[in-house]
Protein backbone atom coordinates (compact mmCIF):
# COMPACT_ATOMS: atom_id res chain seq x y z
CA UNK A 1 0.00 0.00 0.00
CA UNK A 2 2.70 2.41 1.03
CA UNK A 3 4.87 1.33 -1.86
CA UNK A 4 2.05 2.07 -4.26
CA UNK A 5 1.59 5.55 -2.80
CA UNK A 6 5.30 6.23 -3.20
CA UNK A 7 5.19 5.09 -6.80
CA UNK A 8 2.19 7.21 -7.65
CA UNK A 9 3.77 10.23 -5.99
CA UNK A 10 7.07 9.85 -7.83
CA UNK A 11 5.16 9.22 -11.06
CA UNK A 12 3.29 12.50 -10.65
CA UNK A 13 6.47 14.41 -9.86
CA UNK A 14 8.20 13.05 -12.94
CA UNK A 15 5.11 13.74 -15.03
CA UNK A 16 5.25 17.33 -13.77
CA UNK A 17 8.96 17.59 -14.59
CA UNK A 18 8.82 15.97 -18.00
CA UNK A 19 5.40 16.84 -19.42
CA UNK A 20 6.46 20.26 -20.69
CA UNK A 21 9.58 18.84 -22.30
CA UNK A 22 7.68 16.05 -23.98
CA UNK A 23 5.02 18.44 -25.22
CA UNK A 24 7.76 20.63 -26.70
CA UNK A 25 9.45 17.74 -28.43
CA UNK A 26 6.25 16.25 -29.81
CA UNK A 27 5.00 19.53 -31.18
CA UNK A 28 8.31 20.33 -32.82
CA UNK A 29 7.29 17.68 -35.35
CA UNK A 30 3.73 18.94 -35.73
CA UNK A 31 2.59 20.21 -39.10
CA UNK A 32 0.34 22.99 -37.88
CA UNK A 33 1.31 26.07 -35.96
CA UNK A 34 -1.41 25.63 -33.36
CA UNK A 35 -0.45 23.66 -30.32
CA UNK A 36 -3.49 21.63 -29.51
CA UNK A 37 -3.89 19.55 -32.56
CA UNK A 38 -1.74 16.98 -34.16
CA UNK A 39 -1.78 17.60 -37.90
CA UNK A 40 0.86 15.20 -39.05
CA UNK A 41 4.62 14.74 -38.92
CA UNK A 42 7.01 17.29 -40.38
CA UNK A 43 10.61 18.37 -40.16
CA UNK A 44 9.82 21.80 -41.60
CA UNK A 45 10.46 23.61 -38.36
CA UNK A 46 13.95 22.17 -38.19
CA UNK A 47 14.63 23.26 -41.75
CA UNK A 48 13.33 26.73 -40.98
CA UNK A 49 15.45 26.83 -37.86
CA UNK A 50 18.63 26.42 -39.84
CA UNK A 51 17.53 28.97 -42.42
CA UNK A 52 16.87 31.57 -39.74
CA UNK A 53 19.88 33.93 -39.74
CA UNK A 54 19.00 35.25 -36.28
CA UNK A 55 19.13 31.78 -34.78
CA UNK A 56 22.23 30.51 -36.56
CA UNK A 57 24.08 33.67 -35.62
CA UNK A 58 22.95 33.34 -32.02
CA UNK A 59 24.12 29.74 -32.02
CA UNK A 60 27.50 30.87 -33.29
CA UNK A 61 27.84 33.51 -30.56
CA UNK A 62 26.61 31.15 -27.86
CA UNK A 63 29.17 28.50 -28.70
CA UNK A 64 32.06 30.90 -29.38
CA UNK A 65 31.49 32.79 -26.16
CA UNK A 66 31.11 29.56 -24.19
CA UNK A 67 34.37 28.14 -25.54
CA UNK A 68 36.34 31.35 -25.06
CA UNK A 69 34.88 31.99 -21.62
CA UNK A 70 35.63 28.40 -20.58
CA UNK A 71 39.24 28.51 -21.75
CA UNK A 72 39.96 31.92 -20.23
CA UNK A 73 38.16 31.31 -16.96
CA UNK A 74 39.74 27.88 -16.52
CA UNK A 75 43.25 29.23 -16.95
CA UNK A 76 42.74 32.38 -14.89
CA UNK A 77 40.66 30.56 -12.28
CA UNK A 78 43.19 27.77 -11.79
CA UNK A 79 46.09 30.19 -11.42
CA UNK A 80 44.09 32.35 -9.04
CA UNK A 81 42.99 29.32 -7.01
CA UNK A 82 46.61 28.26 -6.52
CA UNK A 83 47.49 31.79 -5.43
CA UNK A 84 44.54 31.97 -3.04
CA UNK A 85 45.36 28.53 -1.65
CA UNK A 86 48.78 29.70 -0.51
CA UNK A 87 47.41 32.89 1.04
CA UNK A 88 46.55 33.15 4.72
CA UNK A 89 44.31 35.08 7.05
CA UNK A 90 42.46 38.25 6.20
CA UNK A 91 43.59 38.59 2.58
CA UNK A 92 42.50 35.07 1.78
CA UNK A 93 39.08 35.51 3.35
CA UNK A 94 38.56 38.81 1.60
CA UNK A 95 39.38 37.37 -1.82
CA UNK A 96 37.20 34.31 -1.25
CA UNK A 97 34.28 36.44 -0.16
CA UNK A 98 34.56 38.76 -3.16
CA UNK A 99 34.93 35.70 -5.38
CA UNK A 100 31.62 34.43 -3.99
CA UNK A 101 29.71 37.60 -4.83
CA UNK A 102 28.85 36.63 -8.44
CA UNK A 103 27.76 33.19 -7.23
CA UNK A 104 25.46 34.47 -4.50
CA UNK A 105 24.25 37.75 -5.98
CA UNK A 106 21.12 37.46 -8.10
CA UNK A 107 22.06 37.34 -11.77
CA UNK A 108 19.99 40.39 -12.50
CA UNK A 109 22.06 42.51 -10.10
CA UNK A 110 25.34 41.17 -11.53
CA UNK A 111 23.95 41.91 -15.00
CA UNK A 112 22.86 45.48 -14.38
CA UNK A 113 25.98 46.26 -12.34
CA UNK A 114 28.21 45.14 -15.22
CA UNK A 115 26.09 47.03 -17.72
CA UNK A 116 26.46 50.13 -15.56
CA UNK A 117 30.23 49.69 -15.49
CA UNK A 118 30.59 49.12 -19.23
CA UNK A 119 28.45 52.07 -20.22
CA UNK A 120 29.97 54.37 -17.59
CA UNK A 121 33.40 53.46 -18.91
CA UNK A 122 32.24 54.36 -22.41
CA UNK A 123 32.39 50.80 -23.72
CA UNK A 124 30.05 49.72 -26.48
CA UNK A 125 27.96 46.73 -25.46
CA UNK A 126 28.66 43.78 -27.72
CA UNK A 127 30.72 40.64 -28.08
CA UNK A 128 33.56 41.89 -25.90
CA UNK A 129 31.43 43.04 -22.98
CA UNK A 130 29.43 39.81 -23.08
CA UNK A 131 32.64 37.78 -23.08
CA UNK A 132 34.01 39.71 -20.10
CA UNK A 133 30.73 39.15 -18.27
CA UNK A 134 30.84 35.41 -18.97
CA UNK A 135 34.45 35.11 -17.86
CA UNK A 136 33.50 37.02 -14.74
CA UNK A 137 30.76 34.67 -13.61
CA UNK A 138 32.61 31.52 -14.75
CA UNK A 139 35.87 32.08 -12.83
CA UNK A 140 34.31 31.74 -9.35
CA UNK A 141 33.00 28.28 -10.26
CA UNK A 142 36.43 27.21 -11.51
CA UNK A 143 38.00 28.47 -8.29
CA UNK A 144 35.38 26.74 -6.16
CA UNK A 145 36.06 23.49 -8.04
CA UNK A 146 39.86 23.70 -7.88
CA UNK A 147 40.32 24.85 -4.26
CA UNK A 148 39.08 21.62 -2.64
CA UNK A 149 41.53 19.62 -4.77
CA UNK A 150 44.34 21.88 -3.61
CA UNK A 151 43.26 21.38 -0.03
CA UNK A 152 43.31 17.60 -0.50
CA UNK A 153 46.82 17.83 -1.85
CA UNK A 154 49.47 16.64 0.57
CA UNK A 155 50.79 19.86 2.06
CA UNK A 156 54.35 18.74 1.48
CA UNK A 157 54.10 17.45 -2.04
CA UNK A 158 55.35 20.61 -3.75
CA UNK A 159 58.08 20.88 -1.14
CA UNK A 160 59.06 17.29 -1.81
CA UNK A 161 59.49 18.12 -5.51
CA UNK A 162 61.65 21.13 -4.71
CA UNK A 163 63.58 19.10 -2.18
CA UNK A 164 64.47 16.77 -5.03
CA UNK A 165 65.70 19.65 -7.17
CA UNK A 166 62.56 20.92 -8.94
CA UNK A 167 62.27 24.68 -9.36
CA UNK A 168 58.97 26.14 -8.13
CA UNK A 169 57.61 26.45 -11.67
CA UNK A 170 58.62 22.87 -12.50
CA UNK A 171 56.91 21.68 -9.30
CA UNK A 172 53.79 23.63 -10.28
CA UNK A 173 53.64 22.16 -13.79
CA UNK A 174 54.68 18.58 -13.11
CA UNK A 175 53.34 17.95 -9.62
CA UNK A 176 50.58 20.35 -8.62
CA UNK A 177 48.75 20.64 -11.95
CA UNK A 178 48.49 16.89 -12.60
CA UNK A 179 47.24 16.42 -9.04
CA UNK A 180 44.44 18.97 -9.29
CA UNK A 181 43.44 18.09 -12.84
CA UNK A 182 40.05 16.55 -11.88
CA UNK A 183 39.12 19.82 -10.17
CA UNK A 184 40.21 21.84 -13.19
CA UNK A 185 38.17 19.64 -15.52
CA UNK A 186 35.03 19.82 -13.44
CA UNK A 187 35.53 23.57 -13.10
CA UNK A 188 35.83 23.90 -16.86
CA UNK A 189 32.70 21.83 -17.42
CA UNK A 190 30.80 23.95 -14.94
CA UNK A 191 32.03 27.12 -16.62
CA UNK A 192 30.97 25.82 -20.02
CA UNK A 193 27.46 24.89 -18.94
CA UNK A 194 27.00 28.13 -17.00
CA UNK A 195 28.02 30.09 -20.06
CA UNK A 196 25.94 28.10 -22.57
CA UNK A 197 22.93 28.36 -20.30
CA UNK A 198 23.19 31.99 -19.28
CA UNK A 199 20.44 34.38 -20.12
CA UNK A 200 20.12 37.14 -17.54
CA UNK A 201 23.69 38.43 -17.45
CA UNK A 202 24.05 38.15 -21.24
CA UNK A 203 20.77 40.00 -21.67
CA UNK A 204 22.17 43.06 -19.90
CA UNK A 205 25.69 42.98 -21.32
CA UNK A 206 25.25 41.92 -24.95
CA UNK A 207 23.70 45.09 -26.33
CA UNK A 208 21.58 45.17 -29.47
CA UNK A 209 23.96 43.76 -32.02
CA UNK A 210 24.89 40.46 -30.42
CA UNK A 211 22.52 37.80 -29.11
CA UNK A 212 22.96 34.34 -27.76
CA UNK A 213 20.35 31.63 -28.04
CA UNK A 214 18.74 32.44 -24.71
CA UNK A 215 18.26 36.06 -25.73
CA UNK A 216 16.70 35.00 -29.04
CA UNK A 217 14.36 32.60 -27.27
CA UNK A 218 13.34 35.32 -24.84
CA UNK A 219 12.57 37.86 -27.50
CA UNK A 220 10.72 35.33 -29.65
CA UNK A 221 8.76 33.94 -26.72
CA UNK A 222 7.70 37.41 -25.65
CA UNK A 223 5.98 37.78 -28.99
CA UNK A 224 4.20 34.45 -28.65
CA UNK A 225 4.85 30.80 -29.20
CA UNK A 226 6.66 29.69 -32.34
CA UNK A 227 7.18 26.13 -33.52
CA UNK A 228 10.79 26.90 -34.49
CA UNK A 229 11.50 27.37 -30.80
CA UNK A 230 10.08 23.91 -30.21
CA UNK A 231 12.58 22.56 -32.70
CA UNK A 232 15.38 24.56 -31.11
CA UNK A 233 14.40 23.30 -27.66
CA UNK A 234 14.41 19.71 -28.84
CA UNK A 235 17.89 20.08 -30.29
CA UNK A 236 19.25 21.85 -27.23
CA UNK A 237 17.69 19.32 -24.93
CA UNK A 238 19.23 16.53 -26.94
CA UNK A 239 22.64 18.22 -26.82
CA UNK A 240 22.36 18.55 -23.06
CA UNK A 241 21.38 14.94 -22.56
CA UNK A 242 24.30 13.78 -24.69
CA UNK A 243 26.74 16.02 -22.83
CA UNK A 244 25.35 14.78 -19.54
CA UNK A 245 25.81 11.16 -20.54
CA UNK A 246 29.40 11.79 -21.59
CA UNK A 247 30.22 13.59 -18.36
CA UNK A 248 28.57 10.96 -16.21
CA UNK A 249 30.51 8.26 -17.95
CA UNK A 250 33.78 10.14 -17.66
CA UNK A 251 33.63 11.36 -14.13
CA UNK A 252 31.62 8.75 -12.31
CA UNK A 253 30.94 11.50 -9.80
CA UNK A 254 28.45 13.19 -12.05
CA UNK A 255 26.07 13.76 -9.22
CA UNK A 256 28.50 15.99 -7.42
CA UNK A 257 29.48 17.68 -10.65
CA UNK A 258 26.01 18.64 -11.67
CA UNK A 259 25.19 20.32 -8.42
Amino acid sequence: MKKLAVRIYMGLIFLFLYAPIIVLIVFSFNKTKSRGQWAGFTLDWYAQLFKDRLITEALYYTVTIAILATVISTIVGTIAAIGIHYMRGFGKNLLLNINNIPVLNPDIVTGVALMTLFISAGMRLGFMTMLIAHVLFCIPYVILAVLPKLRQLNRHIAEAAMDLGATPSYALRKIILPEIRPGIISGALMAFTMSIDDFVISFFTAGNEVSNLSIVVYSMARRGVKPTINALSTLMFLAVVILLLIINKKSGEGEELLL
Partner: protein
Protein backbone atom coordinates in the same frame (compact mmCIF):
# COMPACT_ATOMS: atom_id res chain seq x y z
CA UNK B 1 55.64 28.30 -1.38
CA UNK B 2 54.48 31.65 -0.11
CA UNK B 3 55.69 33.11 -3.36
CA UNK B 4 52.82 31.29 -5.04
CA UNK B 5 50.60 34.00 -3.57
CA UNK B 6 51.49 36.37 -6.37
CA UNK B 7 49.42 34.12 -8.63
CA UNK B 8 46.32 35.52 -6.96
CA UNK B 9 47.21 39.15 -7.60
CA UNK B 10 46.07 39.51 -11.22
CA UNK B 11 42.71 38.02 -10.34
CA UNK B 12 42.43 40.36 -7.35
CA UNK B 13 42.76 43.30 -9.73
CA UNK B 14 40.20 41.74 -12.06
CA UNK B 15 37.76 41.26 -9.19
CA UNK B 16 38.25 44.82 -8.04
CA UNK B 17 37.39 46.15 -11.50
CA UNK B 18 34.56 43.83 -12.49
CA UNK B 19 32.97 42.86 -9.17
CA UNK B 20 33.64 45.62 -6.65
CA UNK B 21 33.53 48.72 -8.86
CA UNK B 22 30.21 47.80 -10.55
CA UNK B 23 28.55 47.27 -7.19
CA UNK B 24 29.93 50.59 -5.97
CA UNK B 25 28.54 52.23 -9.10
CA UNK B 26 25.10 50.74 -8.50
CA UNK B 27 25.23 51.93 -4.92
CA UNK B 28 26.34 55.39 -6.09
CA UNK B 29 23.59 55.67 -8.70
CA UNK B 30 20.97 54.60 -6.20
CA UNK B 31 21.75 57.60 -4.01
CA UNK B 32 22.10 60.24 -6.70
CA UNK B 33 20.30 61.96 -9.52
CA UNK B 34 21.49 63.60 -12.71
CA UNK B 35 23.14 62.56 -15.95
CA UNK B 36 24.52 59.04 -15.50
CA UNK B 37 27.17 59.60 -18.14
CA UNK B 38 28.76 62.38 -16.15
CA UNK B 39 29.82 61.11 -12.74
CA UNK B 40 31.19 64.51 -11.69
CA UNK B 41 27.87 66.32 -11.76
CA UNK B 42 25.78 63.64 -9.98
CA UNK B 43 23.99 65.04 -6.96
CA UNK B 44 23.16 63.21 -3.77
CA UNK B 45 19.48 62.36 -3.65
CA UNK B 46 17.20 59.87 -2.00
CA UNK B 47 14.47 60.41 -4.57
CA UNK B 48 14.83 56.93 -6.04
CA UNK B 49 14.28 55.37 -2.66
CA UNK B 50 11.32 57.64 -2.02
CA UNK B 51 9.90 56.44 -5.29
CA UNK B 52 10.28 52.83 -4.21
CA UNK B 53 8.02 53.56 -1.24
CA UNK B 54 5.18 54.66 -3.49
CA UNK B 55 2.24 52.23 -3.19
CA UNK B 56 2.46 50.79 -6.71
CA UNK B 57 6.12 49.89 -6.32
CA UNK B 58 5.73 48.71 -2.75
CA UNK B 59 3.04 46.41 -4.02
CA UNK B 60 5.44 44.99 -6.59
CA UNK B 61 8.05 44.32 -3.91
CA UNK B 62 5.50 42.71 -1.59
CA UNK B 63 4.21 40.64 -4.51
CA UNK B 64 7.72 39.41 -5.33
CA UNK B 65 8.26 38.45 -1.74
CA UNK B 66 4.93 36.65 -1.44
CA UNK B 67 5.34 34.75 -4.72
CA UNK B 68 8.92 33.75 -3.90
CA UNK B 69 7.88 32.61 -0.41
CA UNK B 70 4.92 30.66 -1.75
CA UNK B 71 6.97 28.95 -4.41
CA UNK B 72 9.63 28.11 -1.80
CA UNK B 73 7.00 26.57 0.48
CA UNK B 74 5.49 24.54 -2.36
CA UNK B 75 8.92 23.34 -3.41
CA UNK B 76 9.66 22.30 0.17
CA UNK B 77 6.35 20.49 0.56
CA UNK B 78 6.69 18.70 -2.77
CA UNK B 79 10.44 18.21 -2.67
CA UNK B 80 11.09 16.89 0.85
CA UNK B 81 9.17 13.63 0.27
CA UNK B 82 10.91 13.20 -3.07
CA UNK B 83 14.32 13.69 -1.45
CA UNK B 84 13.42 11.15 1.21
CA UNK B 85 12.13 8.59 -1.25
CA UNK B 86 15.28 8.94 -3.36
CA UNK B 87 17.55 8.73 -0.32
CA UNK B 88 15.86 5.51 0.79
CA UNK B 89 15.83 3.84 -2.61
CA UNK B 90 18.37 1.11 -3.25
CA UNK B 91 21.58 2.40 -4.87
CA UNK B 92 20.77 1.35 -8.43
CA UNK B 93 17.32 2.90 -8.45
CA UNK B 94 18.64 5.90 -6.58
CA UNK B 95 21.21 6.93 -9.16
CA UNK B 96 18.61 6.53 -11.89
CA UNK B 97 16.08 8.66 -10.02
CA UNK B 98 18.73 11.31 -9.43
CA UNK B 99 19.64 11.34 -13.08
CA UNK B 100 16.00 11.85 -14.03
CA UNK B 101 15.68 14.68 -11.51
CA UNK B 102 18.75 16.41 -12.87
CA UNK B 103 18.12 16.15 -16.60
CA UNK B 104 15.31 18.75 -16.82
CA UNK B 105 17.45 21.12 -14.77
CA UNK B 106 20.02 21.01 -17.49
CA UNK B 107 17.61 22.22 -20.08
CA UNK B 108 17.87 25.90 -20.77
CA UNK B 109 15.92 27.84 -18.19
CA UNK B 110 14.14 29.91 -20.83
CA UNK B 111 13.06 26.87 -22.75
CA UNK B 112 11.68 25.30 -19.61
CA UNK B 113 9.62 28.40 -19.00
CA UNK B 114 8.67 28.60 -22.64
CA UNK B 115 7.46 25.01 -22.45
CA UNK B 116 4.92 26.04 -19.82
CA UNK B 117 3.83 28.91 -22.03
CA UNK B 118 2.86 26.48 -24.73
CA UNK B 119 1.00 24.33 -22.23
CA UNK B 120 -0.79 27.02 -20.24
CA UNK B 121 -1.58 29.68 -22.82
CA UNK B 122 -5.31 30.17 -23.53
CA UNK B 123 -5.12 28.05 -26.69
CA UNK B 124 -2.42 25.81 -25.31
CA UNK B 125 -2.08 22.12 -24.85
CA UNK B 126 -3.79 21.98 -21.46
CA UNK B 127 -6.94 23.72 -22.62
CA UNK B 128 -7.14 21.57 -25.75
CA UNK B 129 -6.80 18.52 -23.55
CA UNK B 130 -9.52 19.78 -21.20
CA UNK B 131 -11.77 20.54 -24.16
CA UNK B 132 -11.18 17.09 -25.54
CA UNK B 133 -12.50 15.57 -22.33
CA UNK B 134 -15.35 18.08 -22.24
CA UNK B 135 -14.02 19.89 -19.18
CA UNK B 136 -14.12 23.67 -18.60
CA UNK B 137 -11.12 25.70 -19.78
CA UNK B 138 -8.53 27.06 -17.34
CA UNK B 139 -7.57 30.70 -17.69
CA UNK B 140 -4.47 30.87 -15.53
CA UNK B 141 -2.00 32.36 -17.99
CA UNK B 142 -1.14 35.17 -18.03
CA UNK B 143 -1.42 35.53 -14.28
CA UNK B 144 -0.02 34.87 -10.81
CA UNK B 145 -0.92 31.19 -10.79
CA UNK B 146 1.05 30.60 -13.97
CA UNK B 147 4.04 32.52 -12.56
CA UNK B 148 3.91 30.48 -9.36
CA UNK B 149 3.69 27.25 -11.32
CA UNK B 150 6.66 28.31 -13.47
CA UNK B 151 8.72 29.08 -10.38
CA UNK B 152 7.90 25.75 -8.75
CA UNK B 153 8.72 23.91 -11.94
CA UNK B 154 12.01 25.68 -12.48
CA UNK B 155 13.28 25.54 -8.92
CA UNK B 156 11.94 22.26 -7.53
CA UNK B 157 15.18 20.35 -8.25
CA UNK B 158 17.13 23.00 -6.31
CA UNK B 159 15.10 22.05 -3.26
CA UNK B 160 15.24 18.29 -3.74
CA UNK B 161 18.97 17.89 -4.31
CA UNK B 162 20.42 19.57 -1.20
CA UNK B 163 17.88 17.85 1.03
CA UNK B 164 18.65 14.54 -0.62
CA UNK B 165 22.39 15.08 -0.11
CA UNK B 166 21.94 15.63 3.61
CA UNK B 167 19.43 12.81 4.05
CA UNK B 168 21.63 10.32 2.23
CA UNK B 169 24.51 11.11 4.58
CA UNK B 170 22.57 10.46 7.78
CA UNK B 171 24.15 7.47 9.44
CA UNK B 172 21.68 4.57 9.49
CA UNK B 173 22.88 3.78 13.01
CA UNK B 174 21.03 6.86 14.29
CA UNK B 175 17.79 5.45 12.98
CA UNK B 176 18.56 2.01 14.36
CA UNK B 177 19.50 3.54 17.68
CA UNK B 178 16.24 5.51 17.74
CA UNK B 179 14.12 2.45 17.10
CA UNK B 180 16.24 0.49 19.55
CA UNK B 181 15.36 3.10 22.14
CA UNK B 182 11.70 2.65 21.38
CA UNK B 183 10.91 5.48 18.96
CA UNK B 184 8.29 4.66 16.36
CA UNK B 185 8.64 5.84 12.76
CA UNK B 186 6.85 9.15 13.21
CA UNK B 187 8.87 9.95 16.28
CA UNK B 188 12.11 8.97 14.58
CA UNK B 189 11.25 11.29 11.71
CA UNK B 190 10.44 14.31 13.85
CA UNK B 191 13.15 13.77 16.46
CA UNK B 192 16.03 12.47 14.33
CA UNK B 193 15.65 12.80 10.57
CA UNK B 194 14.06 16.23 10.40
CA UNK B 195 16.51 17.98 12.75
CA UNK B 196 19.47 16.37 11.00
CA UNK B 197 18.20 17.45 7.59
CA UNK B 198 17.85 21.12 8.53
CA UNK B 199 21.10 22.17 6.77
CA UNK B 200 19.81 20.67 3.52
CA UNK B 201 16.43 22.33 3.96
CA UNK B 202 18.12 25.66 4.63
CA UNK B 203 20.29 25.50 1.54
CA UNK B 204 17.31 24.30 -0.48
CA UNK B 205 15.23 27.24 0.69
CA UNK B 206 18.05 29.64 -0.16
CA UNK B 207 18.56 28.09 -3.58
CA UNK B 208 14.86 28.40 -4.41
CA UNK B 209 14.04 31.71 -2.78
CA UNK B 210 17.01 33.59 -4.23
CA UNK B 211 16.31 33.05 -7.93
CA UNK B 212 12.53 33.18 -7.37
CA UNK B 213 12.58 36.61 -5.75
CA UNK B 214 14.83 38.08 -8.42
CA UNK B 215 13.40 36.53 -11.57
CA UNK B 216 12.00 38.58 -14.40
CA UNK B 217 11.89 35.87 -17.04
CA UNK B 218 9.15 33.77 -15.47
CA UNK B 219 6.94 36.72 -14.68
CA UNK B 220 7.68 38.27 -18.08
CA UNK B 221 6.72 35.17 -20.03
CA UNK B 222 4.02 33.58 -17.87
CA UNK B 223 2.69 36.65 -16.09
CA UNK B 224 2.27 38.68 -19.25
CA UNK B 225 3.12 41.91 -17.47
CA UNK B 226 0.02 41.64 -15.30
CA UNK B 227 1.91 40.89 -12.11
CA UNK B 228 5.29 42.56 -12.43
CA UNK B 229 7.92 41.50 -9.91
CA UNK B 230 10.90 43.47 -8.66
CA UNK B 231 13.04 41.85 -11.36
CA UNK B 232 10.70 43.11 -14.08
CA UNK B 233 10.95 46.62 -12.62
CA UNK B 234 14.74 46.51 -12.65
CA UNK B 235 14.79 45.20 -16.22
CA UNK B 236 12.38 47.95 -17.25
CA UNK B 237 14.43 50.70 -15.68
CA UNK B 238 17.73 49.61 -17.20
CA UNK B 239 16.59 48.36 -20.59
CA UNK B 240 13.63 50.52 -21.53
CA UNK B 241 13.17 53.50 -19.22
CA UNK B 242 16.84 54.37 -18.88
CA UNK B 243 16.31 55.45 -15.28
CA UNK B 244 19.43 53.94 -13.72
CA UNK B 245 18.98 55.73 -10.43
CA UNK B 246 15.63 54.11 -9.79
CA UNK B 247 16.85 50.78 -11.20
CA UNK B 248 19.90 50.91 -8.95
CA UNK B 249 17.92 51.58 -5.80
CA UNK B 250 15.61 48.69 -6.68
CA UNK B 251 18.69 46.49 -7.12
CA UNK B 252 20.04 47.57 -3.75
CA UNK B 253 16.69 46.81 -2.13
CA UNK B 254 16.64 43.38 -3.79
CA UNK B 255 20.15 42.69 -2.49
CA UNK B 256 19.20 43.79 1.02
CA UNK B 257 16.11 41.57 0.96
CA UNK B 258 18.26 38.63 -0.07
CA UNK B 259 20.97 39.39 2.48
CA UNK B 260 18.38 39.54 5.26
CA UNK B 261 16.76 36.28 4.25
CA UNK B 262 20.16 34.60 3.92
CA UNK B 263 21.16 35.86 7.36
CA UNK B 264 17.95 34.44 8.83
CA UNK B 265 18.55 31.15 7.05
CA UNK B 266 22.14 30.81 8.23
CA UNK B 267 20.93 31.64 11.73
CA UNK B 268 18.42 28.79 11.57
CA UNK B 269 21.15 26.55 10.21
CA UNK B 270 23.47 27.44 13.07
CA UNK B 271 20.80 27.00 15.72
CA UNK B 272 20.01 23.64 14.21
CA UNK B 273 23.61 22.61 14.49
CA UNK B 274 23.88 23.73 18.09
CA UNK B 275 20.78 21.76 18.82
CA UNK B 276 22.34 18.76 17.22
CA UNK B 277 25.44 19.15 19.37
CA UNK B 278 23.30 19.56 22.43
CA UNK B 279 21.59 16.27 21.68
CA UNK B 280 24.89 14.60 21.10
CA UNK B 281 26.17 15.72 24.48
CA UNK B 282 23.03 14.82 26.37
Amino acid sequence: MKRMRILAYPYSVWMAIFIVVPLILVFLYSFTEGDIRNLAQLKFSTRSYERVSEPIYLKVIVNSFILATLSTLFCLALGYPVAMIVARANPKVRSMLLMFLIVPMWMNFLLRTYAWMSILSPNGFLNRLLEFFGLPRLEIMPGKTAVLLGMIYNFLPFMILPIYTVLSKIDKQYLEAASDLGANKTRTFFKIILPLSIPGVVSGITMVFLPAVSTFVISGLLGGGKTPLIGDLIEQQFMWEGNWHFGSSLSIILMVMILISMAIMSRIDRDGKQDENGHAKA
